[in-house]
Assembly symmetry: C2
Homo-oligomer: 337 residues x 2
């Protein structure tokens, strides 16, 4: 049994105050999760949350009087606002009083807070935020880092490779193939950072398949794609933007033809499914890898459904024993490296 | 009249030897262009090209005995292989014997070769490769650099802003809005490179709208999106990969339902249009901005249609006077900065 897995009865702590439509969308998303049987507690301003609670579900509230605003500097806000919903939520996880923490608020503050309050696994140079994207071969692609760390040192990218491979194994992928995101497959390609990280990842004990273009990764050439957080964030948001362009182009075409209008109606389910699959937060958003506790961050624009997905993802990875599994797999990798 | 515009009767020089399916796909693409009335000449191994020429079109061949292979180092190959199809094609442009050069071969070699053989416009710190992507508001997004320059200095990004704005003006966009690709809108976001480039672009005389996430750019928040070539390359190939994932997901859904199958049939036109619009080479690939001569590079995997599109794009921008317009607009920007 893992520490998290054994924590029967613990609830997922949900930051009620983070996100563009907080606390409304967060409370609605939490209610959806509770109706699905996922135990949840809300963290935030009790006076603002209580009137929003629906009649049919019971959700405990842990009061937190402060809120980290989006424009605040992450490190400063975490240190100063010790009563913020993010810090209180993280502290519940650290104290073994909550199973995991979910926030759609300030990602940087959640990340810095998690490192500070939860701590970092042994051998982890730097935690990362990972997400799962669909591949065109029907598989799934773990992408990390998607925004926690910019200007990464090559050693950090090698650590992300180990974290991503360990998570893929936890998710049931055997001997996961790890690619290094680059602007060409050849070993000579890449920027300075990528060229320096390449030999480190090759020596890190993971099944390294070399430099990888995003198109090849989406086609199924790797299970884990490693990159700097700046680049990963741009990639994830680019894919999101491209998906919206698809819909626009299709809508335009539909308007211009009765036949296409009929076709679109018949295809509606497929579009919805696609939209849900390609949105990076549809699978539960970004999962922190390398912190001593489970944290899942959602999109700032998260609606109730996305909040619901993030809570379910947090519950799933925490009850699955993510942290303990990562730790043991990282130890095994280090020995084989 | 511009130097290029006045060059009536000049042909587009097409590198017949570059690309995965060269020379076959290149010759077929060139024939498509000629049938459209675009004057073309082929550069490469006469003995290999001649048997591929169709009976119904006349395309002159300029012999070039050498080929730059994909695995060669760009700078070295350009200096050593002075008889390569890329160098011979560029020399034709430099000598005023061709209107523009198109290659689907080694992009790096074309770029280094263009800088060496054609030279660089005054005030241009470093040329870039730009492409045009569709936006969900119906507009078009100029993205640069998409791969010519990695590890750019902040000054280079500021130069790309000027080049991109100038090209947008040439394309008829009034007072084009220039965004700096970043992992968040706030001025404090970005990596070291972006934070250093921000004030330089603000002072460069372009209409700067600040840091820009790709999702916002695709939604229409800017006309020109500036980035490092490593990041731009990843973004373009990520969008391409995402488009392929869309098709896979839709295909899967179609298989599972007769209704959806009928719908897909009706929607076929829309999908094809989307695929054509979102592929970065569908509009003619990457256009060099800042070199003293027009060069367009296509995808290595370019088929005859993509080659055709690249040739037409090269012809269009060259007869439209791209180089002279860029030079005069850059001079005007420098004065207003």
């Amino acid at each position: 049994m893992t520490p998290e897995g054994s924590a029967a009865g613990l609830r997922v702590a949900v930051d009620a105050m983070g996100g563009d439509d907080a606390p409304d969308a967060i409370v609605r998303g939490a209610a959806l999760a509770v109706r699905d049987g996922v135990p949840v507690l809300l963290v935030g301003d009790t006076a603002r949350i209580t009137p929003l609670l629906p009649d049919d579900v019971q959700i405990p509230i842990v009061h937190a009087p402060e809120v980290v605003e989006m424009e605040e500097a992450a490190a400063l806000s975490v240190r100063r606002k010790t009563e913020s919903s993010i810090r209180v939520g993280l502290q519940l996880v650290a104290d073994g009083k909550a199973l995991a923490m979910v926030s759609c608020g300030h990602t940087g503050a959640s990340f810095v807070g998690a490192v500070l309050v939860l701590g970092v696994l042994d051998t982890v140079e730097r935690p990362a935020i990972a997400t799962v994207l669909p591949r065109s071969d029907g598989g799934q692609l773990i992408l990390l880092d998607i925004g926690a760390n910019v200007d990464c040192k090559p050693e950090q990218l090698a650590c992300f490779a180990q974290l991503g491979a360990a998570w893929a194994e936890v998710r049931g992928v055997e001997n996961p193939r790890v690619g290094l995101l680059s602007n060409g497959e050849e070993g000579s390609k890449g920027n300075e950072q990528v060229r320096a990280a390449h030999p480190l990842i090759a020596a890190s004990g993971v099944h390294f398949v070399g430099n990888m273009e995003p198109s090849a990764a989406f086609a199924g050439a790797c299970d884990v794609l490693v990159c700097d957080g700046f680049v990963g964030n741009v990639l994830v948001k680019g894919v999101e933007g491209a998906a919206e362009v698809v819909q626009h182009l299709l809508r335009e075409h539909i308007k211009s033809s009765v036949t296409a209008r009929a076709g679109a109606l018949l295809m509606r389910g497929a579009f919805t499914r696609f939209q849900n699959q390609v949105r990076w937060d549809a699978h539960g958003g970004g999962v922190f890898l390398g912190t001593k506790g489970v944290v899942v961050v959602g999109h700032g624009r998260a609606n109730a459904e996305a909040v619901h997905a993030a809570i379910c993802a947090a519950h799933r990875v925490a009850t699955g024993g993510l942290v303990a599994s990562l730790q043991s797999r990282l130890s095994a990798q280090s020995k084989s490296a």
